[in-house]
């Protein structure tokens, strides 16, 4: 796992890349109806941006927890974090996912992760850490909205949360502080894995939604006349 203190230059570079791509996004769609293409591109860019943002946040937070959680080679078994949505999936299964299921899984995962992250924010002791977590939560909320936009553009309904299954981050009385720290560690790790997976998901969707090159050529010729 590569959860290290991300450098701010990397984040800045990524942000610049996002801003650079934003004006170019409409060019992807040469027809009058923009379709889901631009939204997918934006969502993809946002996942990359969040990925870099998380590197910095995770570095700060794991230092706050102390060793061994901030050690680069710390790789504990996944205990006590069973409620966290798993990003890891078999490759064949991942390939066979249809667009709707792919998007739904992303949406549900980030809905849960956002909820857990807000619980993390409430526990943080330092004001600076709370600010960083709140900022990241806002960005993650944006990603969730972006995924919802893509799903709406493709005509997929948003998954409805089952009543009474709202994820909470309130450890029981038997939950020790060490296990709590372990859960925090796994939350950040799973979040990063999800951002990696989402980047691949949206990249796949993006390629899928691009019209064939021949059609574009023909269209341009028609406009030329």
């Amino acid at each position: 796992m590569d959860l290290r203190a991300g450098d701010s230059w990397g984040m800045l570079a990524c942000l610049c890349t996002v801003l650079w791509h934003l004006p170019a996004v409409p060019a992807l769609n040469r027809t009058g109806d923009p379709g889901p293409g631009p939204s997918i591109q934006k969502t993809y860019d946002l996942t990359r941006y969040l990925e870099h943002q998380l590197r910095s946040l995770a570095g700060t937070y794991l230092n706050y927890l102390g060793p061994p959680f901030n050690e680069p080679d710390f790789n504990p078994p996944r205990l006590g974090a069973e409620t966290l949505p798993r990003a890891t999936v078999n490759l064949d299964v991942w390939r066979s996912l249809n667009d709707k299921l792919r998007l739904t899984q992303n949406y549900e995962a980030y809905s849960h992760l956002l909820c857990y992250l807000r619980g993390l924010n409430r526990q943080a002791a330092t004001a600076e850490l709370r600010r960083s977590l709140a900022h990241f939560c806002t960005s993650l909320q944006g990603l969730l909205g972006s995924i919802a936009g893509v799903m709406a553009a493709l005509g997929y309904p948003l998954p409805q949360p089952l009543p009474g299954t709202e994820p909470t981050w309130a450890p029981g009385p038997a939950h020790s502080d060490f296990l709590q720290k372990m859960d925090d560690f796994w939350l950040l790790k799973e979040l990063q894995t999800w951002l990696w997976r989402s980047a691949k998901d949206f990249n796949r969707l993006k390629k899928k939604m691009q019209p064939p090159a021949a059609a574009v050529t023909l269209h341009l010729e028609a406009r030329g006349f």
Binding site: L65, G66, P67, P76, P77, A125, D177, F178, K181
Partner: protein, 968 residues
Amino acid sequence: MALFSVFQTTFLLALLSLRTYQSEVLSEPLPWAPESLKVFINSTHQCLHLQWSVHNLAHHQELKMVFQIEISRIKTSNVIWVENYSTTVKWNQVLHWSWESKLPLECAKHFIRMRSAEDDAKTPEQSFWSNWSSWEEVDVQNSLGHDPLFVFPKDKLVEEGSNVTICYVSRSPQSNISCYLEGVQMQGEQLEPNVTVFNLNHVAFIRETGTNIYCKGDQGDSIKGIVLFVSKVLEEPKEFSCETQDLTTLNCTWDPGSDTGLLKQLSQSYTLFESFSGKKTLCKHKSWCSWEVAPESQEMYNFTLTAENYLRKRSVHLLFNLTHRVHPMAPFSVLFTDVSTTNATMTWKVHSTGNYYTLLCQVKLYGEGEVTQHNVSVEVDGEQLFSGLEPDTEYRAQVRCANANHFWKWSEWTHQNFTTAEAAPSEAPDVWRNVKSVQGHSVVTLFWKPLSKLQANGKILFYNIVIENLDRSSSSKFLSIPAPANGTELNLDQCSYQIHVTAHNSVGTSPASVIIVSGDPGNKEVEEERVKGTEDGFSLSWKPQPGNVTGYIVEWCDRPRGPLCDLQWKSVGPTTTSTVVSSDAFRPGVQYNFRIYGISTERVPYLLEKKTGYSQELAPSDNPQVVMSNLTSRSFTLSWKDYSIESQPSFIQGYHVYLKSKAGQCHSGSEKAVLSDDAVCCKYKIDNPKQKTFVVENLQPESFYEFLVTPYSSVGEGPHGAFTKVTTPDEYSPILIRVILPMVFCILLIMIICYLKSQWMKEKCYPDIPDPYKSSVLSLIKSKENPRLTIMNIKDCVPDSIEVLNKQEGTRKSLTETESSKPTYLYLLPTEESYSGPGPCICFENFTYNQAASDSASCGHVPVAPKAPPSQLALLTSPENLLKALEENYMNSLGEIPAGETSLNYVSQLASAMTGDKFSLPTNPPEPALCSEYKMQMAIPLGLASPPSSGSSSLSSFTLLDEGEHYH
């Protein structure tokens, strides 16, 4: 002896039997043995709670008992704790006792038992114990579950510096377990095959989120850990104090001390308890708490402030009377009434704290650097009169109050400003003038200093100037200059004027300042005197004036080098003859000039003295620009006429002239000096700063020198900058130049003249060769019809004689002297007596224009040097006979003529004819010039020829001229 032994044995037996009886009695169970022993476990606090009861006690019976409790670990024989617990036991009472284990209870089994005895304070050692209760086993590990690994204690909270014991319990003994503290592996002690214990001594605070301790198996499949929260020691609250502002709420404050460094949920809490009322409140803040005063008039309060966390409890107490802790609120509604130029009245209100309280108020007034303080007793409203104030001055008043009966604390200050009314200026402006005469007029620049705030008594609006002509009393002029001007310029004639200057504000006019500008400036020449300044200024003194003076004025410029000199003056009284002039504008290295004026009773200023000086003299910063002149092989002159000694940073006392030379010898008038770069040179000292030329003498020709002229003053000399290099010239070059130049000029002049007069020169020196056939002589002869007269043919030319001239050695004989000499003639042809037939006369052609003559060799006249050896002369004649004769005669005469001094004179016939006498020829040479005029040569009939003056002379003779003569 035997009797004694029997008695002793009997006694010992009796004693033994007594002890046996006693032990039998003690082994009987006591009626008050502990019963119903139960053990409860508190894993969080690592505590064992024991509960038991004592039966058989009579109703209402109280018995003082001691219970001995024994605790073993792992096995019953391993007793780790024995304690006697004394208490008074009542009928039917359930007893409790707790024990905190240092080792987490989960790490090992524990066994507890107890027994009791009546607690007899008099003979505690002789207590009769009951039987031990049965061992109660405490085994927490049974309830742990089936996890492969456990670490204990769970999330313990300890104080910094404590000792903590940690253990892990492994369910799989084959697995190799490693435990880490903050990433560092710990070394433990095996307690049981599956339990290992770690002792941490003096644990330190690391972070708020606790110290992480975890263990993991070598398979990596299991990891368990705990967080050890280490708290800093909770401090006792300091400076606990309570007070009230309005008698309805008490505000208690304290200093909580340093933070314990725990998360908010683990941090300490503060509780306030009042013992008289029995009320208690949990404080929301760490350093202060509010307490509502009871509506009933409770005056005394006894507070206990308790700081408490999981580990420690700290309390402080405070007992006080409420009325003694009144901290009034700041006064309000501060107003000023009846504000005049010197008086003002201040009023204010105070917050009510009960009708029976009197407040003491403190009033402070700040104005113009002064502070006055007043104390006023106030119940509801306060009032204070300020008097003796300055006009047009802003004052700042502030008031605060405290309980007059029981002083506790002053209230906060309440501030308010006010300004007194304006009044007329109280002082005349300080006026001075500068007079310049421009084209018969006086340009008077008036200066005045702005009045101080105390003098102005308000804002000065304008200055009025009345100029009164003293010579013509009827004439006066009026000017009004708006403020904030501090001067004006007046153009006046040569009359005397009296000038009045007054300052005006909105209320009135200041007294007038009068100054007289005289038609006669009267600036007599005063010698300037030097003064020495200091950092504090210039101390100036002057001679007291015998007449009546109304005062003195010292005048100077703050910026003497600037275009505006920033004229300053200082007025002193008539009895003062010294003052110290200081100014922030004075700078080191700047020369300041001071003029001291006396003010006569007629208010006319007149110059008394001039002084000049530096606040601090600095070493000269620049060297003069030196011009070198009159460079000779032995000396040169240096001059620096443009160097101004007045603009230097100190008084220049003279100059040093440094001269570097390779020889390194210094002549008189100079001394050797070593420069900062260790170079040795000669130093000449010029003591007169006005001497700005210097002649460097005693130099060597064709030598290299370097010189530097630097000024010096009392604080040092100028910089040793770059030396100027000079090389003295050759000693003879000037002389040569003096000779060669005129010579070249003369030659050029001659050449030019020659060129211009070339025709004339040609005529004189190189005349055209006359053609004998075209000669006018021929026509003249022909006209006389002499048929025999013809041009001599060169073939017929026979030399007739050679004249050899002797010359005295060492003397050059002039042509006139040749007359006295007696030339020897060699007669090559027979004389008249021996000459039988008529023959033509011999003549020579000039070789310079007829080369063919020499080629013919018939009548050769080879131009040979007169010093040619006589033998060569033989070649000159071609006829054999002539040659022989010549040789004979020549050889004869050779013995008489010294070699080298012989010359041959060729005497032309024409010359002979013209002179008529061969002896007269030397007396009248053709020309004693550089070049001889050509004489026409011709054969003249003998009849026409002059007869020889002597018999021995021939008809014609040839004279070989001396070397100094030219020949043709």
